[in-house]
Symmetry: C2
Subunit: 301 residues, 2 copies
């Protein structure tokens, strides 16, 4: 039998990547109450909001207030998405512990998402990363569309590494590689990790899967075979797919915990508390979240 | 990178294991039309119904008529569930190519499901298997609750093998090992297959996963690592969990095809036709099926 990791670290991205794809607005008070529940679940990092311009993500326009109002657990790193220097300043004012910068491995996706070419995105991120590090903050570099792009199709490991190299050079602490449209299958994960782990230590790599086609848990399993022990996930599988309204979002924290704890892998996270937080936001949004283990738990009650 | 199988064989169990857990009745004409669609999808085996007493599964009380009315594709094996000699006679009259017998690796689950102890089930199955083989039919032995039992908890590989040994001795052609309540995680799959494959060639073993907690695709991946190339699945993930109304059923044929075809593994099955068959039954049942890749496809339309 195989050797699986003993400990895996989960970053909860529901309040950011999850919520940003939900149409029904959640009030600031509810977000704060919800993040406070997450803070007590044992999770070590929460991405609590995004400081992109509110025009792009109205759901997260209260990022500053949320950051100021949440009750901080000293064992949790509170991070937020920052697009540029202005966003970083606002985020610092809201008391972030970590900044997440982002760009795409696909030229076209980067252009559509950030409105700049990959080459023109670099100087912006170099500045943000430098400033955030100067302020003593942890910086994660998100690279999106690392497997497939909705516009360009397959993305090669070389295209991903080209972007990773730049972000590492600018000083990010780690890289989160995103299956943004949830299309990857395990053989693609293997091919990418073969290339990436020749270049970077596995501790620097976080895998970020979306469960749009139900492949995320299998992709996480494949990643763990390569020694990856850091994953992003979203309570209940919150968040959708901007390219297919109604389809599933980020891999569900509930499902990844079911997998890991079932395999005897420690996370330090209390499944019951995660379940309660999932029921809470499900009620606020007025819809069932896509996590199958959550649906099972709900049916049992 | 790992060596994955080149070809995998799928048995479509939607019309039996799927439908038997659906409350909304589907008319015989609709079942026939639906199975005829499945017959043209490229799948090599369809379990079209069950010949257990209609009192237990009213949804499948028209098994005989369905068997007589479906249009046979000579490339497809049409099998049905048979509980005993009487059921086998009815099934033979309905023109089955294969008979599936069943029992549980858990004493308590066997008692609750079949109303007999494991030891008292053996003579019944010995007779059915003997008669079915005499009639020249393919016989599959389903063993349920091979990982966990809703009454007894963990089931050991030894308990599973004890039942497998008897069924093989009685003459079944192959064994389908069922995660009946959909609780297994990949480390459990590894432990069971380590034991089972020391005893039987992998060609004799079919894995039968339910996706109740969203683990089925990862469990299939683990099974393939052990060389398993035969899986049961259900269109759209049809069928629920009798222990948790509202929870997911069998692993979805649509999701397993997404996985396999994405990894370059052949099945001979046309994904589009499976999708159409899934939309067909979804409409007849008046509800969305749990397959995430199906939900994605629906959202795209």
């Amino acid at each position: 039998m195989k050797r699986w990791p003993e400990v895996v670290q989960i970053k909860e991205v529901g309040p950011r990547d999850g919520l940003q794809n939900e149409k029904n607005r959640v009030s600031t008070a509810d977000k704060v109450a919800w993040i406070n529940m997450l803070s007590e679940s044992g999770v070590k990092e929460i991405e609590f909001s995004s400081f992109v311009h509110p025009k792009w993500v109205p759901q997260l326009s209260d990022a500053h207030e949320v950051g100021r109002r949440i009750k901080r657990n000293p064992k949790v790193r509170y991070s937020a998405l920052v697009p540029n220097r202005k966003g970083l300043e606002l985020a610092l004012g809201a008391g972030i512990d970590g900044a997440s910068v982002f760009m795409s491995a696909s030229e076209t996706h980067n252009l559509k998402n950030i409105n700049k070419s990959i080459d023109n995105t670099y100087p912006v991120l170099e500045e943000v990363i430098g400033e955030a590090k100067k302020a003593g903050k942890h910086v994660t570099g998100y690279v999106s569309t690392v497997f497939d792009c909705p516009y360009e199709g397959k993305i090669s490991p070389e295209e991903v590494i080209r972007v990773c190299d730049q972000l590492m050079e600018f000083g990010v602490d780690d890289l989160s590689l995103g299956d943004t449209i949830g299309t990857a299958v395990p053989s693609q994960v293997e091919a990418l990790l073969e290339a990436v782990l020749r270049r970077y230590p596995k501790e620097k790599i976080i895998m970020h899967f979306h469960d749009t086609r139900g492949m995320a848990i299998a992709n996480i399993l494949s990643s763990m075979e390569y020694g990856i022990t850091r994953f992003d996930s979203s309570i209940g599988g919150l968040g959708g797919c901007p390219y297919a309204p109604g389809a599933a979002g980020n891999v569900a924290t509930n499902d990844i915990l079911y997998l890991l704890h079932g395999m005897g892998i420690e996370t330090g996270i209390d499944e019951k508390k995660v379940q309660e937080a999932a029921f809470f936001i499900q009620n606020k949004l007025g819809k069932s979240l896509p996590s199958k283990s959550l649906a099972y738990a709900a049916a049992q009650q």
